[in-house]
Every structure is written in structure tokens, then in C-alpha cells.
Symmetry: D2
């Protein structure tokens, strides 16, 4: 058995990002090479169980095989593969060696390697989604929901083009994250739950199984049902590739939402903006030469991981093309899909940690808002003037803002001085006038919408 | 108005792939710049219609605006933009010029540019999907279904790794295409139908509309309902990006299926394989110096288009990251999404043309099958030996095939000579023995499955 | 001849980004379909010229063909292609029709379509690089150099992680852009200048030309020399793909530098930072509803174009794989390379426009620097303490900065109060002490380096 | 120290593709996390060596640090990082602990983390290129050269579109691979040799080093010269990104050539073509259920690895964008570059193994050629007719080939019967006539060109 220091490994997922042993052992349970073989053995066992159910072999044969399969370890399969140069044949040989001569013929009965490989992969990706990925995403989602609700009334300047626009609330900003992440969790649930298996033989026509069964499709359904899977609508040597394509798209597009949130946070932590922060550990060093810095390293890391994993979708798209009943040029590439899942998990877990100690700098968020308080009035002013019949309100306000900027004077004062506007201003309701005086009230329905969005996703995701 | 010869254009979509004027005018109706502006004007009209319904303005104002919007042409908007440097403001100015002073204030009332831009894009992508893309894909799907059914009993050698494996039927091969394409049509229906709009203002908090309405979300729903759209669950200046991400993924992954089919066809047209072909026009030239060639140019073209458009998904993934309430670095990139749709349509239309004149070379498909007839027996033989208790059937058959290959003799003869196999062979049923004699019967349930798959997708897609 | 309004076109490159007719006609001269055919005709003419030089045909034949080639227009070739279904055969037929029966056999003599296609593409991409792309990049480079030199002493706070670090000068920032862009211009020069042609026939072995020449490679060199090109070291039906791969990589990686510069500028234009700006036209509208905004639309546009074009490198990488002597699945995809060049040109021209009216807000750049003035001292302090023997300087300063932050006091004052530091401080030279007092002097050699970098690239690029 | 079974690892590079311990230990020496830290320590040692050379510290201090640096192991750095949360500070602390109090201040003197990180990465990527990657590529190149020369006269049918075209030789096919791979080796040499380092401090302006040196750029050059590196022309906190971008492009485009070769080989191994093969180990199992198969698994694997790694270039392009003096969103992504190098090495080593046992099936290669022997005549016939004045040779031959195909007769016979062609045929030289009789002579200069290409690259690469 080859053991080595993790620091001899090549992939950061196997050294740097695997340091948290608790997290890593969870990933490894589904996504390591060991796990891959365990899941394949589980498929082999399910197969023989159904054979017994159909009376092809005895129940005791099924039990023997099930026991043998559960005892398979990666090392023995690799040792056998070294001899046979074929991974599934090696697995089959290993199981056969552990069972009685009577049971041997039923191991792998009528199936082809990829009945086992594709089914086992769908199974473990479905299970890791439901056992680890979705729960972690939901944990993050709940943290975002909490912040959204907590900060639903915290006035924040809205920003478009990096420029101050009109006000929202910090909670409303987070409601956007809640909604986008919620949407991706739902998509991931949908696409992982239908990951499909196959027990249809070398080219998908049930050639071998049909030698023994009149209803080979039913036989396939039974084996897959043992594992909680559905069959691919049609298959060749492999399951239709689009189930996996959609699944990885769900992962990657979810990663995009995490990167988007992280980008926002990075910028909100800029020295000049500094609206949010994070409690640092007392011994943590910010930078090797600049001991005073507070760096948004967690958000940077999430964006960086996204840059690493996003392009891998191209691989999955290329793997849609497999010649005829299969060309095997997806053999190595498909082995890297676990990296994507672990990459996403690292990002999620990191965001969970950072949002747990999320801190708002209320002074700065207010200061930033105040910077543009005067100018914010421009939008409602233009709209109200227009609504009360001003023929060219947008232009009139544009000219006024330039004047305010040049003269250094207050837009609201200037407005009141303009005789040509008076007739319109007189028509404003009290509520409308108030917004001109207190621009911080100009947040639309930010707070209510925040609550509604959070409630919607709570219900939708069962949180 | 700038007019030019199409041959002065840069994009192949605007010269080479736009030569079929009938097809092109259809694409252009939804996907040109002209179309973009038409759709935006339609959103502006819907807005005022709802204002009238709520009594904010009169019905006659709504009619005026609706008429003006329907008369907007791209040139005038561009001329106006040249002055204002802002595309939606230009559109609004153009509409306003066409209506009475009374109506002017209600044009674009309370909305921000991207209320119009994003809503109009969702609308036209949804409509082009339902009016053009899905119907074309369904037309192709039906052609594939017809071929599948017609050839459901045509024996073809199954191929994995480019190597002969065990037999299927040509119809079964096509059933695979039917299933994968059907699956993508369903996905495209789902994802295009939920493309979302927004009427929530500059930063998504309904800041401006809330000045006039207590129920701005209801107001948004009404405007979008006029257009057959739903609102984004949450929005900032823009609709949540994931609706578009999923939509483009549906397009790109559908393109992957077309490329995969085309790759198969290319290889089946290889000189040495030559199982399929296409009726050439009598005047068509195959190659400039090799007048005898028959080149799979249509399938090559489809794969080539896929290579061009598939990577554009990366752009869409990058566009998921938009800072704060929006950063506008998706402004140019999103303008290229129509190229993807037209690229896909070109591929679909080309495949429709080529599958209409799809020809099978029954002689060659039979010849190729016969090549491996002897060796095909290996798989059922091994499985049957195993099932009747042979302790190491796979190895026994492997050794036999090597012997057959070396000696140039027939595998079936060799089998019968081996005394150690006799006991097992005697147990074979008649049907099982027959497959050893007539390997062409070893097609599993290829024909029945073909019918079932075609029926399933006919029903699922309502074809 | 098909003419249409540009607004009916699909690609933004053929409507929105082609509005500047002067720029567009320049691109079109090299990169339109018309240009493609012109260049191909030029290759056909060069071929016959060399035939005449070798005495295979008469000089007058070569002149006839040269004249005919120069008169070819796209429309006639397309009309002919409509009949023959082969683009180069169509071109050849069109040329042949314009020459005497005597000249006809020499048109396209011994060549295959891709001798013409690949050679013409290399030729036009090389010429457009030298005539348009590199000159535009150099123009931009000079603007960046001017800004670098002009602002070489303008103190700016250096930023890492979006956090204030230690000071540089704005000129030094621009020197970085000068260097990175200079490096890409050099790469583009190198890789465009070696774009290769071929006159080696259908499969690259000079099968046909060898029927007539004992030295077909020399013949190839002569034809290509007429066009200023070199032959591919080896060719099949096509030129080795790596020349084009490197060329497009040079374009794409150059685009990345433009995007990187643009991203920096966008952030420097943020409301809270606002160190730079751009003079707006008086009639320009910033936003449809927020007339006071100043949006970094040009930089956003450049980044957005980069997002659109960067992923297309994947297409070029996929096109490296062409089966055997060629598989033609690069036929459509290679037609889109002009889009990449035009996309880059749009970005370059836009940056030229924007950097021409580049404005620095000296007040804000100073204000931002002042924000962190106190804390900047931390780095030199730690380094100097260490250099004078403090055993744990980094930690000592880290603790001090935390104290400064908590107490709201000045780091320099605190330092002077600490008895345990006195011994070290006494050893500081005057120059070293001065940096603690005037942190704006702590810019290293920013100004000198700026000059040196600019000088280096001026010389290297011959500017 | 965390040790684990390789089968618990996530990345196939750390389990499946690391089984060959000899290969893996070589990769690990440069590309593991352990190696990363070793190289960083080496940079720290070089720094102090130059300090001593300049008299800043004593030679014995430099020796102490050098010894300490050489003893650093990954585990202690990680343990320290666990406390400090900063990887380079951890390294510095570890080195400092191993040296005398007198030496401590000189460790990491005036540098910032990324002076060490970027320099160490450039160093190890340059060294692994020169020590492992280029030698392995050259080994493969030599195998390809051997095959090219050996088979330079083996007639093979040239193929375009997967269709038989005109003949070449197998050696000529391989000369194409030699040339493309040679070109990439040269590019990789060029781009790896100029990977740059930096010792310019936190924001690249030599802020800290200038406190001590009047010539900080010279100081930087000295430190880097110790390591055999050059400085980046300009730097911020990081080296200009384009050195790395070009380096990874060289790797990825080299990978593309390997994938292209592999694709060709896969198809030449198709059952119907079967021109090449590979000697299988006697115990190897081809497929779990089809013991007779001979699968091109090695070539499939190389293409599959290419699909996995090619898209990672997108990450590198995205990493060109780093805000201001650096944003650190390349922190995680850059850690995955070693995966690309190992992926490429796996592919190279696999191809070396497979080309060592490369086998040609001379019977089949001849059989395939014979298939199209008759039709091959079409090209020279058309060209010769044209050259002797036939006014429409291409069309005349096209019609003839259709007639030959329909009638099942021999093209050469038909030609001789046509009275209208006689006048032209009489003018053919003997050599020209011979090609019509023996189409296998129609290979142009395939054999000579093969030799010339091989010679060129032998010289160019010093092989």
C-alpha cells in the first residue's frame, strides 16, 4: 500500500486544501479513488442481489457477494489491475476470489465495465450532493438569510458601475445572494437527483442480459432501484452524457454565485469603502512585510478557486462527444470530476466560516451613503417632475446636477431656487417631498422585499 | 441609414451563413440589432399600457405610446444615441418625440434602462426559442425518429474505442440520438420558458416605482404579464444572471449533441467504413483537385460550428460576476448571445437538410458486420460459459480468441473442439446456441428499444 | 448583390461596433469576406507569376491572370459557388472566365484549395497585424508612456488585496502597463511575422507539383516569397496549426493586458476612490434615470469585450486536432478568427480615445494617500528595526499598529514612546528617519524605474 | 506529519497517475507542496548570500541561513502557518528559528512574500522544464523521428475528410508530427528559459530595498542571478503575468500536438483501417466482456488528458487580470499549475511507452491504399490534362470518375477509350504516364521531405 506525506502530492486538493482532516475525510468517503472502488463494488453487489431475487442464483450467493464486495479495498484491486491492465476486470477478479466457486459466475453477470463505472459514479455524485454539498450550501444559505434579515433596514448606497446610484439596504443586497444561491441549490437538487445509471451491456442493447431475461430493461430497473437510481432513457456503452453535463453545470453555475458574492465582499472591504470586515484571529499575520493590513483573503480564495474550476466545464462539454457506442476519450477526464466537487466544497466551507464572523462597519456604511446623499435626490426628482408634467425632466435635472457639482452647492437648494420648477414642486405629495429632504427614505421596498425573498427560499428549500 | 454588401461584414454569420435569405430574415427578426430595438420598444409600450390600466394615465396615452413604439426604427435610435451616448435614453427620446406632450412623461415611467434591456432580451430569446429554435430542433428530431424506426432492424456492428464490439441495429444508434436530442429539447423548453424580466428600477428595490405605487411588485408582474414573462425572484439593476446562464447552457449542451451525432456520421462516411452517405447534387464539386471525393462537409461544418460556439459558455459564466448592483462589464459580451443562437440554428438547419437525404449503404454496413462476425461470438460465449459454471470463462475465451487470431481459424470451430468446454456447451438452450451460429441475432432488444425510445420522446415532446 | 441595413446584422461587430465607418472600412479591407476573396485571388496571381518566371507559361499569361485576379469581386465567386458548392473551385472558375483559353490551365496550377486558403489567411492576418493592429497598439503604448512620464512623481497609494499598502507613483503604475503591453506588442510582432503559407498540394507531399518540378519546395518558396511569406516547415493539406495558435494566443494575451488595465481604471473611478476620470462630452447622458452619474463605460466595455473573445482561444486549441492529412472540422471555426481581431481593435481604439482625455484627480489621489499615511510607516519601520538587530521586528510593529488603531493615535508617536525601541531608532540614518516623518518619500525608485521602463520599451519597439 | 494512502486522495494525479513511483518522485521533486517550500527556502538563501556579498551581513550569516534553508521541511512550515495564517511568514519564522540571533534580521531582508513566491515558482517551472519536460519531449521526438525515417518509403493513402485522397508515406505522416512537436519543444524552451523573478518589494517600487541600496535593481539582478533567473522588466507585488501566460500556452499547445497525434493513431487503429497497432502484454485484458478486443487505450488516454488540461488555459488568461498592485485572486488558482505540468508529463511518458512498441500492419496499409488506387489517378490526370491545354480538365475528370464508379470499370481504361482526350495524353512524358499506371509512385517528394524535416529538427533541437 502506497502511503505518502500529503506534501508530496501534486494537487492542492490533496495537500493544502486537505489539511482539515475532518472535512477531507468526508470528501474522501465519496470522492477518493478508494471511494470510487467501494461504490463500484456496491453496484456489483446490487446486481447479484437482483439475480437472487429473480432466482438466477441463490440468496446465499447474493449474500456471499455482498459481503465480499463490502470488504474490497482499493489496494487489492490496483494490485490485480497491475496484472490485468483493466480496472473493472481487476475488481471482478478480486470479488470472485473472495467467494465460493458456486458464486463466482454470478459476479458481474451479463454486465460490461461501464455498467458498473457509470452507475457507481452517478450513485456517488448523487449521494455526495445530498449528503455533503447541498447541506453545506443550505448552511451557507441560512447564514446569508440571517444577515439579510438582520440588516434589512441598514441603509447602504446602491452601486452600479462602481458608482453611487440610489440607496438600498444591506439586507436587500444579501437577499439577492439568498435568491441566487437558493436558485442554484434547487437546480443542483434537481440535476443530482436524476443522475442515471445503466445495466444494458457493452453497447447498450442488452445483448448479454437478453440471453437470460425476456425483460432486460426491467432487470436494469431492478438493479438500479436497489441503489436508488433510475436508468438512462437510452444508453450505449455509457449513460447519456447530458445527465452529467447538467449536473456539472449546476455545480459550476453555483460556484459562479459564490464567486460573485465574494467579489462584492472584496470590494466592500477596500480601504476606501470598508463597509464590511471579518474578525481576525489575534495571532494571524496579514502580510509578511505590512503587519497592519487586513486582507480579504477568504473572498479572494473563493474567487480564485472559481477561476480554477469554472473552465473545467469545457471538458465536460467536450466529453459529450463520444464516437459511436463510445470512444473512451473521456476515461481520464471524467476521473477529475471529483476535483470540481471538492473545489466547490472548499469554497462553500470557507464562506461558511467567514460569514459566521461577518462584521458590518456601520460608521463607514453610513459615511459612504452620506457622500452621495445630495446627488441621490436627482433620480426621484427627475421622475417626479416628469410625472407632474415637466416636458423634459431628465435633461433639466442633468443640467442641475452639473451646476451643483460645479458650484459645490446642494442640489435640493438649487431646485428650490429655480422658478421654472416651482409649479411642479407644488404638486408633490408629502411623502414625495420627504424623499427630497431625507434621501435615506428613498429605498423603495428594500426591507419588505428582503423579507419576502428570504421567506420564499426558506419555503422552497425547506429550511 | 448604413447599408452595405454582406461581403463587407466581418462575422461569417452576417455573410457566409446568412446567404439563405429566408432563414436569415427569420433570425434577423429576433436577433438583429433592429430586433433588439423593436423588442425594447415593445416593453416600453407594455409599461404604459399598465399605467393606463391603473389609471395613472389615460388609455389614449397608452395607445399613442403603443403606436409610437411600434413605429420606432433602429436608425433613428442610433442617430439619437450618437448625440446622447446612451442607447435606452435615445430610444425613450425617439418615442417621446412621436407622442403628444401629455403622453411624454409616461414613457419609461419609473423604470431604469435595464428594466427595458433585460426584459426585452428575455422576451426575444424566449420567443425565438419557441418560434424558431424548438420547432427546428423538433423537425430534426422527427427526421431522426423516422430513420430510427426505418432502420430498426438494420444490423450494424457496435463500436467502442473505434473497435468492433457486439452488434446493434442502425435504428438503435439513431434511437440514442433521438433520446439525447429529445432530452435537450425538453431542457431548452424548460429554461427558455422561465427567462425572466424585471421592472424594479435602478438598483432593484423599486425605489422609483414605490413613489407612485404601494404595490410595486404587483405593478412589475402586470407589466411582465403583458409580455408573457415572469419577474426575476430578486433583481438588482439586472435580472438574476442564472436564468440566462441556464438558457445558454441548454443551447450549448444541445449543440454538443448535434456535434456528437455529426462526429459519428463523419466516421461512418470514412472511405474504409462507408456505411452512410448523402445524395450529392450533380453539379457539386467535392474538392478542387480531387474530383472523385465525397466529403462529409455538412457534418464537418456542424462540428466546426460547435467548436466555435461551445467555448462561449465561459463568457456567460464570467458574466455571472457583476459587482454590487451591477458593474456593466457584461454590456458588450451579452450583445453576442444572438450569435450563439444563430450558430445553433445554422447547425440544426444544416442537419435537417442532410438527414433529409440520408442514405444507408446496406452492402457496406453488412460487409463491416461480417468482418467481425466470428469474433462477436466471444462475448456471449464467455457469458454463457460463466453462467453454466465455468470457473474462469473470461480467461478461457480470451485465450481462444488469441488462438483463433493466430491460427486464422474460426472461433466457433475451435470452441467445439475443446473437450474441456463440452460439458458446458451441452447445457446451452437452443436460443443460446443459435447466437453462436448466427451472431447477427445477438442484437439484444435493439429493435424493441428503438421503438420504445422513439415513442417515449414522441409523447414527451408532443410530436 | 445582397445589401442590407447594418441593423439587420446579427453580430455586434457588424452593427454596433461598425458604426465608425472609417475604422470599419479599415477592418473590412482585411477581415471581411470580400477581403478574404481578394487575398485568395492575390495568392492565385502570385502562383502564376512564378510559373511565368520558371518558363512554364508566358509572362503575358501571368499578367492576364494577375489582372483577372485583381478584378475578382466577392459576389461573382459566391454566385459561382452556389452552383459548384465549393468556394475555391468557384474562385478558380471566375478567374478562368476572365482570361484567355491559353491562360486558363495555369490558374491554380498543381495546387489544392488549402494552398490558397491557408496562404491567403496567413497573408491577411500578417498584413492586418502590421498595418493596423500593431500600429494601433503602439499608439496606445505611446499614450501610456506619456502618462507614465507625466505622472512619474504623482504619489499614489499602492494597493494589494484592494487594501492600502505602501506608496508608489501613478507614473509607476502606468509604467507597468507600458511594460506589459510592450511585451505583448513584441510577441504579436514575432508571431504574426512568421505566419506561414504552403504550396504543397492536397496532402502536403507536393504530389502534383512534383509532376512538373524537380524542386517543388523551391517552387513553394518562390510563390510565398512573392507574398512576403515563409513556408510551413511541414504541411499536410494545411499549414501546421501552431503558427496560428501562437498568433491568436498573442492577440488574446494582449487583450488580457488591456482588460487588466481597464479593470484598474474602473476601480480607480469608483465613487469612493475617484482618482481618475475622463472628460465627458457635454451632451452625453450617464444613465437613463440617474443624470448625475459618471460611468466608466469605456473601461467596462473593454473588459466586456475581453470576456467575449478570450474564451475563443479554446476553439483555436481544439482546431489543433485535425485528423490525418486534415479533417475539415476547422472550416467554419477558422472563419471566425477575424472577429477576434476586430474585437481587439475595438478595444484598442476605445482605449486610445479614453486615454487621450485621461484626467487625474490630484486632490483625491492625495486624499487617498493621506488616509493611510500613518500606517504606511509600518513597513519601513519593521524593516529598519530588523536591520538594526531587533530580534522580532515584524511582531513588534504588528502589535504597535493594533495599538494605534485601537487608541486612534499616531503610529509614529507611539513608536517614539516605546522605550524598548529607542536603541534601534537611534541607529537610523537621517534618510531613514525622514521616511518615518514623510511617508510620501517612501516610494522607492518609482520615478526612476518609470523612466527606465519607458525608455526600454521605446527602444525595443522603435517608438 | 499527515500521511495517507494514495487511494484516499482526490486528484487522479495523486492516485491513479502517480502509481509509477519512479516517475512520480521526479514530478514531486519539483511540483509537490514539499518542492514548493524547498524552492522558496532556496530563494531566501540566495537573498542572504547576496547580502553577504554586498557586506550587509557576514559570510557566516549567509552560510547559516543557507544551511537552515536547506533543512526546512514542509511540515514545520505548515505547523507554523497554522499559527500565523500566512505561509511565507511561516517559512521565514522557521528559518529564523534555525539560525543565530545575529543572523535572524537578514532572513527575508527587505522582501515581500511574493518576491519569494513568484521567484520560486519561476525557478521550479524553469528547472522542471529543462530537467524533465523538455528531455521527455525530446525522447518522444526521437522516437517519432526514428519511425519517420524507418517508414519513409511505406506507401500510405493520404486522407482528408476521412476520405482517401492521394498517397503519401507513413514516414511523411510522422515527419509532420516531428515538425509540430519540434516546434513546440522550441517554444517551450524559449518561454521556460525566460520565466522571470522579482526582488522588488511589496508593490514593485523597491520601497524597502531602496532604504539600504542605491541600486536596488542591481541588487535584484544579483539575487536572481544566483538562481539563474532574470528579473521581470517591471513588477508590482508580482512578476508581470505574461511570462507565465506564455509558458502555460507553450505547455497547452504542446499538449494539443500530442492529442492530435493520438487522435490520428486512434483512427488508424479502427477495426476497418487497422494500419497500426501496439504489442500487448500477454496478460493484458482488453475489455471486461469482449476478450478479443484491442483497444487504443493509450491514445484515448492522451486525448482525454488533453481535454482535462486544455481548458485550464482559461484560468491563466483570467489570472492576467489582477487589480492594481495585485488582488490575490490568483492565489489558489496558481497553485494548480503543477497539475498541468504533471498532466502533460503523463501524456508524454505514455506516448513514449506506446511508440516504443509501435507496430505497422503492412498488409492493411497496402490493402487500404489499393482500395483507392484507381481513383487516385484522378488528380494527376486532371492536372496533366490541364497543363497540356485541356480547357476544362477538372470537369472532364469529374465526369469520368462518376462514370467509373457507376460502371464499376477502371478509370485508366476509360481514359484511354476517350477519343477527346487522346491528343492530350500523347503529350505526357514517360514519368507522367507512369504515375497513371502505378499510382503508388504518386507520392511527390514524401520520402525526401521526411528526411529533410527530420534533419532540420535534429539540428534545431540539438538531438
Amino acid at each position: 500500500m502506497i502511503r505518502r506525506s500529503i506534501f508530496e502530492n501534486i494537487s492542492p486538493l490533496d495537500h493544502r486544501y486537505s489539511l482539515n482532516e475532518e472535512d477531507f475525510s468526508k470528501y474522501s468517503k465519496y470522492l477518493s479513488e478508494k471511494a470510487r472502488i467501494k461504490y463500484q463494488a456496491r453496484v456489483e453487489a446490487a446486481l447479484v442481489k437482483v439475480l437472487a431475487g429473480r432466482g438466477i442464483c441463490s440468496e446465499s450467493v447474493a449474500e456471499e457477494v455482498s459481503k465480499a464486495a463490502s470488504e474490497i479495498i482499493a489496494e487489492e484491486v490496483y494490485n490485480e489491475e497491475y496484472r490485468t491492465k483493466h480496472d473493472i476486470r481487476a475488481l471482478v477478479n478480486c470479488i470472485q476470489r473472495k467467494v465460493s466457486p458456486e458464486a463466482r459466475p454470478y459476479v458481474h453477470f451479463t454486465t460490461t465495465s461501464f455498467d458498473i463505472v457509470d452507475t457507481a459514479n452517478s450513485l456517488r455524485y448523487k449521494e455526495v450532493s445530498y449528503d455533503l454539498v447541498i447541506p453545506a450550501l443550505c448552511k451557507l444559505e441560512k447564514l446569508l438569510m440571517d444577515i439579510a434579515i438582520r440588516e434589512k433596514n441598514t441603509i447602504q448606497i446602491g452601486r452600479t458601475h462602481g458608482q453611487h446610484a440610489v440607496p438600498i439596504t444591506l439586507g436587500f443586497t444579501f437577499a439577492g445572494y439568498v435568491s441566487r444561491l437558493g436558485n442554484r441549490i434547487r437546480e443542483l437538487k434537481n440535476k443530482s437527483s436524476i443522475l442515471a445509471g445503466k445495466i444494458s451491456g457493452a453497447v447498450g442493447a442488452y445483448n448479454a442480459s437478453h440471453l437470460f431475461f425476456d425483460d432486460p430493461e426491467e432487470f436494469e430497473r431492478e438493479v438500479l432501484a436497489e441503489l436508488g437510481l433510475q436508468p438512462s432513457t437510452h444508453s450505449t456503452q455509457i449513460v447519456e452524457t447530458e445527465y452529467m453535463t447538467d449536473f456539472v453545470h449546476a455545480l459550476i453555475s453555483c460556484f459562479g454565485v459564490l464567486a460573485s458574492i465574494s467579489d462584492d465582499m472584496r470590494h466592500l472591504q477596500r480601504s476606501e469603502i470598508a463597509e464590511i470586515g471579518e474578525h481576525f484571529d489575534s495571532e494571524q499575520v496579514g502580510s509578511s512585510t505590512m503587519p497592519h493590513k487586513r486582507n480579504p483573503i477568504n473572498y479572494e480564495n473563493v474567487k480564485s478557486l472559481w477561476k480554477e474550476f469554472m473552465p473545467r466545464m469545457n471538458t465536460v462539454y467536450m466529453d459529450q462527444l463520444s464516437e459511436h457506442q463510445r470512444d473512451l476519450t473521456n476515461s481520464a477526464s471524467a476521473r477529475f470530476i471529483p476535483e470540481i466537487i471538492v473545489g466547490l466544497m472548499e469554497a462553500v466551507n470557507r464562506l461558511i466560516r467567514v460569514f459566521k464572523r461577518f462584521a458590518v462597519d456601520y460608521e463607514n456604511i453610513k459615511r459612504n451613503f452620506e457622500m452621495s446623499k445630495e446627488m441621490i435626490v436627482a433620480e426621484p426628482l427627475y421622475i417626479l417632475l416628469a410625472s407632474y408634467g415637466h416636458p423634459d425632466a431628465h435633461e433639466a435635472v442633468r443640467v442641475l446636477t452639473l451646476e451643483a457639482e460645479k458650484s459645490g452647492r446642494n442640489l435640493r437648494e438649487l431646485v428650490l431656487e429655480k422658478q421654472e420648477l416651482k409649479a411642479y414642486l407644488d404638486k408633490f405629495t408629502e411623502k414625495q417631498k420627504e424623499i427630497l429632504v431625507n434621501p435615506e427614505k428613498y429605498t423603495g421596498i428594500a426591507a419588505e422585499k428582503t423579507v419576502r425573498v428570504v421567506d420564499y427560499w426558506k419555503k422552497e428549500l425547506g429550511l
